[in-house]
């Protein structure tokens, strides 16, 4: 039995805090559990809530190398797992033409020397601790998902010519998804599921305080409150954490100490990316609370 990386949930939490990632009970608990159960974590949630950052921060926390596989439509085995280095193989054949028997050449050609490692294989074969991040896994087609299954459940890669390569050490694996499509049952079943939503106000305020240098407590509080109010509106795209941070940074640059309706309205374009959302927000900043109730379409 290998040793566990973490002793307890609070340890994970404190460790993440040290690398400036403010987790909550759920996040820390699941990272801890992933280590104990040796299971990958499937992280889902709205854009800009720190899904990718979580993997990076965990890697930083345990001092591991981060290996990243960015998914996209059309990703295949050769890009994700391994590839034979055809050119080198060709050279090998040409270089010693006639001297070797065919058997020797064949054995030689499909050896380690001619294997190009791609991220998944790299993570499996690494001897030092690594964290494997499979980013935006929902972008690959359903069929391609199958590539991942073997590595996710057994931490091994089968190469027909070489046999099965098993992991030297079990890497921590994170998969992120923006939920543009339903992932297959087979994939979900192999993972622990973590949904990272927008943080609650207290946590968001803390995030602002850690990530924006020199911001006053008062301003951070105001920013967090306004963002919370905005998220309650029905918007096309709610402000994400990264947008909140951008906004806080902007306010700092502008030397704002107190956010009023005017400042909020004039800088709303940093938080919101759709004109209709901005218009709605500006209207909300200025209007009374009662005005907003009228928009909720009720039964006729």
């Amino acid at each position: 039995m290998t040793e566990y990386r973490f002793e307890s949930v609070p340890e994970v939490r404190d460790g993440l805090r040290k690398v400036d990632y403010l987790s909550d009970e759920g996040i820390a608990g699941i990272v801890y559990l992933a280590d104990r159960l040796k299971k990958p974590i499937l992280v889902e949630g709205p854009a800009g809530t720190g899904k990718t950052q979580l993997a990076k921060s965990v890697a930083e926390m345990i001092g591991a190398r981060l290996i990243r596989l960015q998914c996209y439509e059309g990703l295949d085995e050769a890009k994700a797992l391994y590839e034979w280095n055809y050119k080198k193989q060709l050279l090998r054949i040409q270089a010693q033409r006639g001297n070797d028997s065919w058997d020797e050449v064949e054995e030689d050609l499909f050896s380690d020397e001619f294997l190009l490692e791609r991220p998944l294989l790299e993570a499996i074969r690494a001897t030092e601790p690594v964290v494997l991040l499979i980013d935006e896994v929902d972008r690959v087609e359903v069929e391609t998902e199958a590539l991942l299954l073997e590595i996710l459940s057994d931490y091994q890669v089968s190469i027909p010519e070489l046999g099965t390569i098993e992991a030297k050490q079990i890497p921590l694996v994170f998969l992120t998804s923006n939920n543009t499509r339903e992932l297959s049952e087979a994939l979900k079943r192999r993972c622990l599921f973590l949904h990272i939503d927008y943080p609650d106000m207290e946590r968001e305020k803390e995030i602002i305080l850690t990530k924006v240098p020199d911001i006053t407590e008062n301003l951070a509080d105001q920013v967090a409150r306004i963002v919370r109010s905005l998220r309650q509106l029905e918007l096309k795209k709610s402000p994400s954490v990264s947008e909140t941070l951008d906004w806080a940074n902007t306010l700092m640059l502008l030397g704002v100490e107190q956010v009023d309706a005017e400042v909020a309205s004039s800088t709303a374009n940093i938080l919101l990316k759709y004109q209709s959302d901005i218009a709605k927000a500006v209207r909300e900043f200025a209007a009374d609370k009662q005005g907003m109730k009228a928009f909720a379409p009720g039964p006729k």
């Binding site: 949630g45 599921f193 029905e234 709605k280 609370k289 006729k300």
Partner: protein, 510 residues
């Protein structure tokens, strides 16, 4: 299966916790029951996930309630939309486990008394410090409890708020063992006694006074933010009260019975016609990711079907780089077929919610269609396409449809026949061979003439005509429903009671 209402277990004595912690009999049974209930509620839990959950709780002790909950969720729930259903079942199954969560009225009194003492020490000199000195919650008059609540809420003191919530339930809900009343009734009784509306007013008033005392007035934005904050706290209080009521009900009736009554359908299974207000909110939230998913899927589908006939000219041209050998055949891209959509929706009371959702969904993915036109009717019919044009916010447009469209002709009772006739006269000619017509409604025609020849005429001109009916199929053609008359002339009439069915249909459409 052991009896879950075993009193020792329910009270969660400390002795018993030892047994619970290891994966021995009791916890195993509990977990099995829990997973069974999750499956009943419609969550897909596989055997491997079940085993994972067992393994997980070995590592996360149950006393750490939040972590325990997340551990179970991480292994059992793989879709965020299912979280609410999971949480409800979890509360029912585990709300009484663990000493902190037991239902012990003595400890309740003690808690409140302790907290009050703490609070007094913190805020010595605050008003009302004299009256709470006597300790026990029972000693308080309702007014004093109100006052206490007000103070707790102003300060945002969570533990005191929790204690008060429990006290309030004990006192106001009037729960009696074995009484066959639902939890909502108790909730209503408790909330009525607490007068939360008044509380909010009072808190806002106090905040304004405070601001004035500090020498500045609250701007509208500030006021808004303060109110959001207080509403947030009041919501938390409500949740606490609900949880307490649930705990007591579980203690009274047993886990299985409560799990059954509290079972909530998943958002995609909620019936449009009978959704509660709360479910509606959930539905609308589920709609946004759904449209995004649909749009991606449809776009992908279209891209993948891109293989047209051989493009001779380009093939020859490409062959030049291979010395005249046509090694790389080129194909024409077929013009992607994007249908033109006509939505004709009944928006009378009974089916309004359904029409609203369908309109929202269709417009949210309107990029997948070459053109979308919308008509709404009750007994008159009106075109509402312009409401959606150039508007980014579909919700607002739908709201305008509901309030501004001119759909009443005589009495505001559905008259499909008349509406169709007018449609035919005014817009019938606009239907062409590229058009797909979708008619939404329950076809409850109040015994008017059906005028089904209009639908026949539509089918003649259009590419497809579909009918979506939010009623269960078994109700079709009963009473004044004449969906059969119309369905005969459509390319398909579909039962469309929930998001799942609606999603399936829309995907077929594009």
């Amino acid at each position: 299966m052991t009896d879950h209402s075993d009193p020792a277990l329910v009270n969660g004595d400390d002795d018993n916790l030892g047994d619970l912690r290891v994966a021995g009999e009791p916890l195993l049974d509990l977990l099995n029951g829990f997973i069974g209930e999750l499956r009943e509620a419609g969550l897909p839990v596989s055997l491997t996930e079940n085993l994972d959950a067992m393994a997980a709780i070995r590592h996360i002790p149950m006393e750490d309630r939040e972590a325990f909950k997340y551990a179970l969720a991480a292994t059992l729930v793989k879709n965020n939309a299912h979280w609410r259903s999971f949480e409800t079942v979890f509360e029912v199954y585990f709300s009484l486990r663990g000493s902190k969560y037991g239902l012990d009225d003595d400890s309740l009194e003690q808690d409140l008394a302790d907290l009050l003492d703490d609070d007094e020490r913190d805020g010595a000199g605050d008003e009302g410090s004299g009256q709470s000195g006597q300790g026990g919650g029972d000693g308080l008059t309702p007014e004093e409890l109100q006052q206490l609540l007000y103070q707790a809420m102003m300060k945002g003191n969570e533990s005191l708020m929790k204690a008060i919530a429990r006290q309030a339930v004990k006192r106001f809900a009037g729960m009696e063992p074995g009484r066959p009343v639902g939890g909502t009734y108790y909730l209503y009784r408790t909330l009525r006694n607490l007068d939360l509306e008044g509380l909010l007013e009072k808190m806002m008033e106090q905040r304004r006074e405070q601001a004035e005392a500090d020498g500045h007035e609250l701007s509208k934005l500030e006021e808004r933010l303060e109110q959001d904050e207080y509403e947030h706290r009041i919501d938390a209080l409500k949740k606490e009260i609900e949880a307490e009521i649930r705990r007591r009900l579980v203690a009274d009736r047993g886990i299985e019975a409560m799990a059954k009554t509290l079972r909530k359908p998943l958002p995609e299974d909620v019936d449009f016609m009978h959704a509660s207000r709360e479910e509606m909110v959930g539905l609308r939230k589920a709609l946004i990711p759904l449209t995004r998913r649909l749009a991606v899927r449809l776009a992908r589908k279209r891209r993948h079907n891109r293989r047209g006939p051989l493009d001779f000219r380009r093939t020859v041209r490409a062959s030049l780089s291979y010395g005249g050998v046509p090694a790389e055949p080129k194909f024409r891209h077929p013009r992607p077929h994007k249908p033109e959509i006509f939505v004709i929706a009944d928006i009378s009371g009974s089916v309004a919610a359904f029409a609203r959702f369908t309109l929202m969904l269709v417009y949210a993915i309107s990029g997948q269609f070459s053109k979308v036109r919308a008509f709404v009717f009750i007994d008159g019919i009106d075109e509402v396409t312009s409401y959606f044009e150039g508007v980014e916010d579909v919700t607002e447009a739908v709201h305008r449809v509901n309030t501004e469209a001119d759909v009443v002709w005589v009495d505001g009772h559905s008259d499909y026949g008349h509406a169709f006739e007018v449609f035919h006269n005014k817009w019938g000619k606009d239907i062409g061979p590229k058009t797909t017509v979708i008619i939404l409604g329950d076809a409850r025609n109040n015994y008017h003439a059906s005028q089904s020849w209009v639908v026949k005429e539509m089918q003649h001109r259009a590419r497809h005509v579909y009918w979506l009916n939010p009623e269960p199929k078994s109700y079709w053609d009963t009473g004044d429903s004449i969906v059969g008359d119309y369905a005969a002339y459509t390319d398909g009439a579909y039962e469309c009671r929930n998001l799942r069915q609606l999603e399936k249909f829309v995907e077929k459409l594009a």
